[in-house]
């Protein structure tokens, strides 16, 4: 094995790091947490203008999937607002893989400019993990479709230009087989976005679709072929596009804080043996998380679909992140409770933030239970429970 990056990847990473050093200002970070929108169109546009975005579309162009991994890993490690961009580039990849020329011209090219966003419309209030049971209806009416229903957890819908929307087009066949995907402009009449505030800083949305009419050209993939389109998206998503190294910025923030914080036992917190042990354990977990993610990228780069490997990376990384957050919040005591902007807040409030944010990481993008089912059945070959 060779863990050195190729010269091209080294250059690409250096360019991303340089970009981050220049563009990821305190204002950008403060703004993302103040608004709850982990997406910054100016930042995205600058990334595109710097030529760093084309490689971020999975399966598109001549860039290595390793570069896709590098881009999102660097953004995640730096604590940049990348969530909206990751979803957008994921959709770009799906559009590229299964879309028509119309989609590519009308959507993909725009997405590559960094000035537009997409969001994902899969889950519904009553159908989360069991997404194959969704009930949002799309009914054909001549050359058009009429869509009615509601989606939940449509994060970034309020800043998005398109949504990829999973609908039921045939209720009379087994549930996976009657689904169709659409790529819907968000300004289509009949779409309403309602904010859903959360316990962390980030905002998500519920979206409502009331007799939304779109032409058949906005269909993405085959009629009743929506499940396959989702499969493409999932294979792109799991593990490679951020979300598996959240403890890197946490560790950096805690380390930087601990060097200057007084310990009740005397000296600094950085001299506390238990904190040192836990910093080291977190550093190990961060390496492992990165390697599991890199492996998923490597499989994609060598022509495979790293669905299972992504599940493993997510299971490992999110569990360790939650453990680390719990450790550091306990060790920081009362100061670890204090929020962004409060004097004396441990790690400038990052511990409070991470403690609020961490719980959702074992839910979104596939719950721990769904990922464990995946690994148990598909990797270990254990008999299905249901």
């Amino acid at each position: 094995m060779d863990f050195s990056l190729s010269p091209g990847a080294v250059d690409f990473r250096a360019a991303v790091k340089a970009f981050i050093a220049e563009h990821l200002t305190t204002e950008v970070v403060d703004q993302m947490h103040a608004t709850g929108t982990f997406n910054d169109k100016t930042f995205n546009a600058a990334l595109a203008d710097a030529g760093l975005l084309a490689g971020a579309v999975p399966g598109y162009g001549d860039r290595d999937p390793i570069e896709l991994y590098i881009l999102f890993n660097e953004l995640e490690k730096a604590g940049a607002p990348y969530d909206g961009l990751a979803v957008t580039m994921l959709v770009a990849g799906v559009v590229n893989a299964v879309g028509t020329d119309f989609h590519r011209n009308r959507v993909l090219q725009k997405l590559l400019t960094g000035r537009f966003n997409c969001c994902l419309g899969y889950s519904e209030p009553d159908h989360g993990s069991d997404v194959a049971s969704i009930t949002t209806k799309a009914v054909r009416d001549g050359d058009e479709w009429v869509i009615t229903g509601q989606k939940m957890w449509t994060t970034m819908a309020h800043v998005s230009d398109w949504v990829i929307l999973l609908t039921r087009t045939n209720p009379d066949v087994p549930r996976h087989k009657g689904l169709t995907m659409f790529l819907l402009p968000m300004d289509t009449p009949g779409i309403e976005v309602q904010p859903v505030p959360t316990m962390a800083t980030e905002r998500t949305n519920a979206t409502f679709y009331d007799d939304v009419r779109v032409g058949d050209e906005w269909r993405l993939g085959e009629v009743d072929g929506g499940w396959a389109v989702m499969g493409v998206a999932l294979a792109f998503e799991r593990g490679v596009m951020g979300g598996t190294n959240p403890a890197v910025p946490l560790l950096r923030h805690v380390r930087d804080w601990a060097g200057g914080a007084a310990s009740p036992d005397g000296g600094t917190m950085l001299q506390d043996p238990l904190l040192r042990e836990r910093l080291a354990r977190t550093a190990i977990a961060n390496q492992v998380s990165q390697l599991l993610t890199l492996r998923a990228a490597w499989i994609a780069a060598t022509g495979g679909l790293p669905g299972l490997e992504g599940s493993m990376a997510k299971l490992y990384a999110t569990g360790r992140y939650q453990q680390a957050v719990g450790w550091f919040q306990e060790m920081a005591g009362a100061e670890g409770l204090l929020a962004f902007g409060v004097d004396d807040a441990a790690a400038d409030g990052w511990i409070d933030y991470d403690a609020r944010h961490a719980p959702v990481t074992t839910i979104y993008g596939g719950t721990t239970e769904i990922n464990r089912n995946n690994v148990a059945e598909r990797h270990l070959g254990l008999p299905r429970d249901r």
Binding site: D126, A332, E335, G336, V342, P359, T362, I363, T367, R386
Partner: protein
């Protein structure tokens, strides 16, 4: 040996369960955020006599013991009451013990609180009731002091506790010397015990919320609570809950014995612990862990909804963590406990 509540305690529990269930709860807790003080509910609470109920009747209080108070505050925790009840109760008892508890404090019209951490540079930091209490009692060196001043500027925090720093400038000295320190430490152990009981209440409701959600929420054509993965996530919690409640009750029992002058033992070699300071520390660590684990798992069972502000579990989740660490890192509490367990020899008589 009697592991049931007394009849009196059952009445107390019923009365306060009714009170907190009608006057406090998730909606009121939300409205009280971020400060974490529901002044309307506090005003209503004065009518129940709760603020002074832990003070002897001879001193004008309600004559309740620590075990009784634990019953009250478990209900407050279960209903996520945004009230500085634990802090007021233990500080009131402390003031009464040093003969400095006036009627407004007994009645609760003046809110009092305890500085639970050693002051630094003349300031009591992150006092749990510091943003709402008028009077704060602290141990400054070997002096028990009381500062009477406007509540401090609220420090916005994870659990929406009314935290504030309180400068001790101009504080009155209530007592000095070993007795003053002993009185303070007794109060702090009472604070540990009652905070543990609050956490037990939080644990109880968090478990109920998770179980209710798991029974109602359906995915894949069946309640998610019928999946073994969900069942087993929840099945460890009743033991944690009941264990923490029993240990907290034992701490309260030991506290009442200590107040009555009976010493206890702490012999880990024989697992024989009746010493109050030891049990209070154990109860807080145990209840903190129960509450942290139960709120975490219950929130997870809620899926994405657990993360949304609309659902109640996140309120419990954040308060569980806040109350668990506001005194100190539980690992450091354990090391303090080890200091007690490993250097002290078993003393006194066996229970």
């Amino acid at each position: 040996m009697d592991l049931d509540l007394t009849e009196d305690q059952e009445s107390i529990r019923d009365v306060f369960a009714d009170f907190f269930s009608s006057e406090t709860g998730p909606e009121q807790a939300r409205e009280a955020e971020p400060l974490g003080f529901d002044s309307r509910a506090w005003d209503r609470l004065l009518e129940t006599g709760a603020p002074g109920m832990g003070v002897a009747e001879s001193s004008g209080g309600g004559g309740a013991n620590l075990a009784d108070l634990a019953v009250v505050v478990e209900e407050a925790g279960a209903h996520i009451a945004a009230l500085p009840l634990v802090d007021h109760m233990v500080t009131t008892r402390l003031l009464a013990r040093v003969g400095a508890c006036d009627d407004d404090v007994l009645a609760g019209t003046t809110i009092v609180g305890l500085a639970i951490r050693p002051p630094q540079d003349g300031t009591a930091r992150t006092v749990p009731s510091g943003a709402v209490a008028r009077q704060v009692v602290a141990l400054d060196g070997d002096a028990l002091v009381l500062v009477d001043s406007d509540p401090g500027a609220h420090l916005q925090n994870h659990g929406c506790l009314p935290l504030a720093h309180r400068p001790l400038a101009g504080a009155t000295v209530l007592a000095k010397g070993p007795d003053a320190a002993a009185a303070y430490h007794l109060a702090l152990d009472e604070w540990r015990t009652l905070t543990a009981s609050t956490l037990v209440g939080i644990t109880r409701t968090a478990l109920n919320l998770g179980v209710d959600y798991a029974r109602e929420r359906r995915q894949f054509g069946r309640p998610i609570g019928s999946f073994q993965a969900i069942q087993h996530l929840l099945a460890d919690l009743p033991g944690l809950l009941d264990g923490a409640r029993l240990l907290t009750a034992k701490a309260a029992w030991a506290g009442d014995r200590a107040v009555a002058g009976q010493t206890g033992v702490a012999d880990i070699g024989d697992n024989e612990i009746t010493d109050f300071a030891t049990l209070a520390c154990m109860a807080l660590v145990s209840a903190g862990e129960a509450a942290t684990t139960a709120t975490d798992r219950s929130l997870h069972v809620h899926g994405g909804y657990g993360f949304s502000e609309e659902y109640d579990i996140q309120l419990y989740f954040r308060r569980a963590r806040a109350l668990t660490v506001v005194l100190d890192d539980p690992a450091r509490e354990c090391r303090r406990l080890a200091d007690m367990l490993l250097t002290r020899h078993a003393t006194g008589t066996t229970a």
